[in-house]
């Protein structure tokens, strides 16, 4: 059984004279990876901030897990987790301490066990007792995402999770996101990379000039352009393929 876990209706938000959101509508079903695709400044982060109760919309309605973000922000917060644009991890604590901190704040009954489980699951066991300031960008992101899983949120918001990461770290994060979705977590992801949306999402919505101008599966979106014309061309490797060929890493799906 699938149902809409997130409903966004006619969302509007302006900052001074700039109309950022001008009537945004979409819904996300349980277990979906929903990607909000848009250019820099399209308003993706604004949508995430409103959905995660950090910002109030000028008008419109947002229902998450049956609760209105305006009337019951506390209930909403209990069922979501936010992974912001920059890894919101504490550099001065170890990976383990970061996880235990969030677990304690979420009133987890056994913070130590929860932290151990997540460290194992995200391949951070070896680095567990090192200060996060020594972590690589990819490791910080993985820790960040693992912190978001504490308290078993129904929906996870990932705001540009791979921006600023090197290609290898990006693949790491993609793998993590896929695993989360396979375990039934609903994910709202924002990205400016077309490839990322194509690779991860069940549903893609394109946010442009404050509105969702297209929304559907990748196949739905493909129907919006004229049918493919067959042409034979010599295929040049992409830079990414070259990069992985020489560094010896394979793209894992």
């Amino acid at each position: 059984m699938t149902k809409d876990i997130v409903q966004v209706r006619n969302l509007r938000k302006s900052f001074k004279d700039t109309k950022v959101l001008q009537g945004v509508n979409f819904e996300i079903r349980q277990g979906e990876i929903f990607t909000l695709l848009g250019q820099n400044g399209a308003g993706k982060t604004t949508v995430i901030q409103i959905l995660s109760t950090l910002l109030k919309a000028d008008s419109g309605r947002v229902i998450i897990s049956g609760y209105d973000v305006n009337n019951q922000p506390g209930k909403v917060r209990a069922s979501i987790s936010l992974t912001g644009q920059f890894a919101a991890v504490d550099d001065m604590l170890t990976g383990r301490e970061n996880l235990e901190l969030i677990a304690k704040l979420r009133a987890d009954v056994s913070p130590k066990q929860t932290a151990n489980g997540l460290l194992k699951r995200f391949g951070l066991e070896e680095a567990a007792n090192r200060l996060v300031s020594t972590y690589s960008g990819g490791m910080k992101r993985r820790l960040d995402i693992s912190m978001s899983l504490i308290g078993k949120p129904t929906v996870i918001f990932l705001d540009e999770p791979t921006t600023g990461l090197d290609p290898e770290a990006r693949l790491e994060v993609w793998k993590t996101i896929k695993e989360l979705a396979n375990n039934g977590t609903t994910i709202l992801l924002t990205t400016q990379y077309l490839e990322e949306a194509e690779h991860l999402a069940n549903k893609i919505a394109i946010l442009h000039t404050g509105k969702i101008i297209a929304n559907g599966t990748l196949d739905d979106l493909k129907k919006l352009i004229p049918p493919v014309k067959k042409e034979y061309v010599e295929k040049q490797p992409t830079l990414e393929e070259i990069f992985f060929a020489i560094t010896g890493k394979k793209e894992t799906n």
């Binding site: 950090l54 919101a88 901190l101 308290g151």
Partner: protein, 250 residues
């Protein structure tokens, strides 16, 4: 949600930060001690305060300088939390939002208190003596805690609003200078009129005077009421603005 429990969990986090960056304690403790040594053993002989024990005269001002430099770290820590999205993470979690700010305030109170205890210890070695009663000491401690609270809430504002790390901590420089233009090191009556008027009417002088007379005579007279009014007034105004900025920014 349990605001008190959450505040203490977050207090534990910030205290870990302090223990792991000893420069916080060193700056806040060593600098005032260096001032104390300098004023007592270098300038002290040339300063005439009308008291025989200059350490006694100096200590209240030194304590205030320590607090003024200590709160700049509160602004610094809060700025880092804002910038790294840690505040946003906390605020999107089912925890009490004011717990996040109060944990920073308590961290400031705890760490500043540790610095003050160390400084008073050094002052005792240097010859600080007080015949004040327990009650007078309680009044002194209360006064110092109120001063910390006032400056900490003041520090929260640049912590939330600053655009850079330098901006976040720069606000405390004038606060550190205030004791120099007060009765903290020399009596105000030798100062030129304009400076004297400023010195005698700024909060540090009344706070220093009331702490000094509590330690010397065991009572503070009228100064303490003016000092209390300053501290409570600054706390209320700063708290009001800090909360307003926090609600908007977070």
């Amino acid at each position: 949600m349990n605001p008190l429990r959450e505040t203490f969990i977050l207090l534990g986090r910030s205290m870990r930060h302090i223990l792991r960056s000893p420069d916080t304690i060193i700056t806040v403790t060593i600098m005032p001690i260096a001032f104390m040594l300098l004023f007592v053993y270098v300038f002290g002989g040339a300063i005439h305060t009308g008291t025989s024990n200059y350490v006694n005269y100096l200590l209240p001002g030194i304590l205030l300088i320590s607090v003024a430099s200590g709160v700049s770290y509160t602004a610094f820590r809060l700025f880092i939390d804002m910038q790294k999205g840690i505040i946003a993470r906390f605020n999107s979690m089912p925890i009490n939002r004011s717990a996040v700010l109060w944990s920073h305030v308590l961290t400031s109170i705890v760490s500043n208190s540790i610095s003050l205890v160390v400084i008073i210890g050094v002052a005792l070695i240097m010859g600080f003596r007080s015949s004040a009663s327990i009650l007078a000491w309680i009044a002194v401690i209360g006064m110092l805690l109120l001063f910390m609270l006032a400056l900490t809430w003041l520090a929260i504002i640049p912590g939330l609003k600053a655009k850079s790390i330098d901006g976040a901590s720069a606000f405390s420089y004038p606060l550190i200078l205030l004791p120099f233009i007060s009765s903290a090191f020399v009596p105000t009556n030798t100062m030129p009129t304009a400076v004297r008027v400023f010195a005698e009417n700024q909060p540090v002088t009344t706070i220093v005077n009331s702490i000094r007379s509590l330690l010397e005579a065991g009572s503070a007279g009228n100064d303490i009421w003016i000092a209390l009014a300053w501290c409570i007034g600054i706390t209320i105004v700063a708290y009001f603005f800090a909360i307003r900025i926090y609600r908007r920014a977070a």
